[in-house]
């Protein structure tokens, strides 16, 4: 275990500043979601005619999908679909996945580590542990941002920390999914940029497909949503409904993650580790 923790400590030391920056960004974004929700609720209260109320609800549905329950928590979590927030959090798993093997081979440092008596399984396991620790920190930053902002931006019905667990589980599952397919490419490649590009492209394309497939006027391309990992990402639904749908979504995302991670263990175990020259 000493070897495992030495690897974890080293990797955390290397990535501490990117992690701090990402956590600060997510804290700020989470703060902002509550701030905007607070402002929106104040504005909605002032509008009393039916047309305005319907218009506002249509706006909220556009943000958060059909399951919108119009509570403060749902409005806040609708912003978890915003590309900025998604980019800020998936950077971490994609970055860690590409760095895990391809990145270490590219910069030539894997030679020193793997020439010591360390199994490749332990090595990759430590990389996954670091990614999970970072993910936990980022999730806590999101929750902390939300709770802290609620103090200064009172909303009608603020969600408690425990109510955020379901959407957080969905978000973490999404991140693990991104990690899964990216780390597999990292496990078979020798340069980091290709794994990064693959992870970013699949995530971005998946997001775009999800958005396009859910445009009401494009009913004929709705089937494309089945090819998007974001079909299984619904933070508002997870918050409002939780239950079986959330469990199904999380299972789908974790299954993709598991396939990617197991495949990367196998690929890394049997591959050649070339020198970087």
């Amino acid at each position: 275990m000493g070897v495992f923790f030495a690897l974890v400590r080293k990797q955390l030391g290397e990535t501490r500043w990117p992690l701090v920056v990402l956590a600060a960004s997510l804290f700020a974004m989470s703060w902002l979601t509550v701030f905007v929700t607070c402002r929106m609720e104040r504005r909605f209260k002032k509008e009393t005619d039916v047309a305005a109320v319907m218009r506002n609800r249509a706006f909220l549905r556009g943000m958060g999908g059909g399951s919108m329950d119009y509570s403060s928590g749902s409005i806040e979590l609708a912003f978890w679909n915003h590309p900025f927030l998604i980019i800020a959090i998936v950077i971490w798993p994609i970055g860690r996945a590409s760095a895990a093997i391809a990145g270490e081979i590219e910069r030539g440092t894997i030679d020193l580590v793997l020439s010591r008596p360390i199994s490749r399984t332990t090595y990759l396991g430590s990389q996954i542990a670091v990614m999970l620790i970072g993910l936990l920190i980022l999730a806590l930053a999101l929750v902390a941002g939300n709770l802290a902002s609620t103090i200064y931006n009172p909303v009608e019905k603020p969600p408690g920390a425990f109510q955020l667990i379901d959407p957080l589980a969905n978000l973490i599952a999404l991140c693990l999914c991104c990690y899964g397919f990216t780390v597999f490419v990292s496990a078979i490649d020798i340069v980091r940029w290709r794994a990064n590009l693959f992870g970013a492209f699949v995530t971005l394309a998946s997001y775009v497909i999800h958005v396009v497939a859910n445009i009401p006027s494009l009913e004929n391309v709705k089937f494309l949503d089945h090819f998007s990992i974001f079909k299984a990402y619904d933070p508002v639904g997870a918050f409002a409904e939780g239950g079986p749908k959330l469990a199904f979504n999380v299972e789908i995302l974790l299954a993709i993650a598991a396939v990617g991670i197991v495949a990367s263990f196998v690929a890394f175990r049997y591959r050649d580790v070339p020198s970087n020259s």
Binding site: A6, K10, S115, R116, I118, N276
Partner: protein, 302 residues
């Protein structure tokens, strides 16, 4: 201690290593010589289980280098040729990290070698180190590890002459401690200074294996200027163990392995103008396989 049997590594049609069979004995310094692309680093990576052999097998202390790589690496310390370290760490943190990956016992020894022997500033960040300083730091850890085998891939490539001497002394000290050292390099005098045996490689093949002690004690080179072309002998008496290496007009470079008394007696009978006798160096052996006039055709059948 280390043995390979028809060890081969192929990348597509390209042979990085071809049918390498050799044995490294316990407690010896074994030199691996050859230019870039000759298969030295491939051999080392195969021994460490970093790459899988296409065919053949390699073992260290009876353990298969690919299937039991972990057990092999418990007994081996390695200095990579292309050295890349973690720039964000201080020298000491780096030694501590590598030491922790082997149980943590060697940190004090590594720090002592780095600080007192190789004069590395351990409190500085590695990103501020020169290439030579980085190499010294990694060497400190390699020499400090409590292992049976040291594999050093071009360990002196970035070092200044005085640091090179220190490293060669450390290699000799490792041999005195009964450690086995595989020393890969290009600088022939260094390998010559420390190696017990050397393997000369060319394009993935083992071309020649030489026992350096035997070479130093037995082989001498005799440069003879005869009194004209007609004085140059066509044949040499077998009992003298004399063989021409190079002929240039009336000047002959001869290899001699026999008794010096008999050699002098034979020279006295010849029409000789001048004689110079010396020991052979590794370069002349190396040049037989990598000299400027050597072509691939000469070794095609080997």
């Amino acid at each position: 201690m280390i043995s390979t049997e028809r060890l081969t590594k192929r990348y597509g049609a390209n042979h990085a290593l071809r049918d390498l069979t050799l044995e490294v004995r316990p407690g010896e310094v074994f030199g691996l010589l050859g230019p870039n692309g000759s298969g030295k680093t491939t051999t080392i990576r195969l021994l460490l289980g970093m790459i899988k052999p296409t065919s053949g097998k390699a073992s260290v202390a009876g353990r298969d280098c690919w299937k039991e790589s972990l057990a092999v690496r418990e007994r081996v310390s390695y200095l990579p040729g292309e050295l890349r370290l973690y720039g964000h760490m201080t020298g000491y943190a780096f030694l501590k990290f590598l030491s922790d990956l082997r149980g943590g016992a060697s940190i004090d020894r590594a720090a002592a070698i780095a600080d007192r022997v190789l004069k590395v500033e351990l409190t500085r960040k590695i990103r501020t180190f020169s290439t030579g300083m980085k190499q010294k730091l990694a060497l400190s850890q390699a020499f400090a590890d409590p292992v049976d085998i040291l594999i050093l891939d071009e360990p002196t490539s970035a070092l200044d002459p005085s640091a090179r001497d220190v490293v060669l002394d450390l290699v000799k000290a490792a041999r005195a401690d009964r450690q086995t050292v595989v020393f890969s390099g290009h600088v022939l005098p260094e390998v010559e200074a420390v190696a017990d045996r050397v393997a000369i490689m060319r394009k993935g093949r083992l071309m020649h294996l030489e026992d350096m002690h035997e070479r130093r004690s037995n082989l001498r080179l005799v440069l003879v200027r005869f009194a004209g072309l007609e004085a140059v002998p066509r044949d040499y008496p077998e009992h003298l163990e004399l063989a021409p290496r190079d002929l240039n007009g009336e000047v002959a470079l001869l290899e001699h392995r026999g008794s010096p008394v008999e050699l002098f007696a034979w020279l006295a009978d010849q029409r000789v103008v001048d004689v110079a006798i010396g020991t052979d160096d590794l370069k002349s052996l190396y040049d037989r396989f990598h000299g400027p006039n050597v072509t691939d055709d000469e070794f095609e059948d080997q």
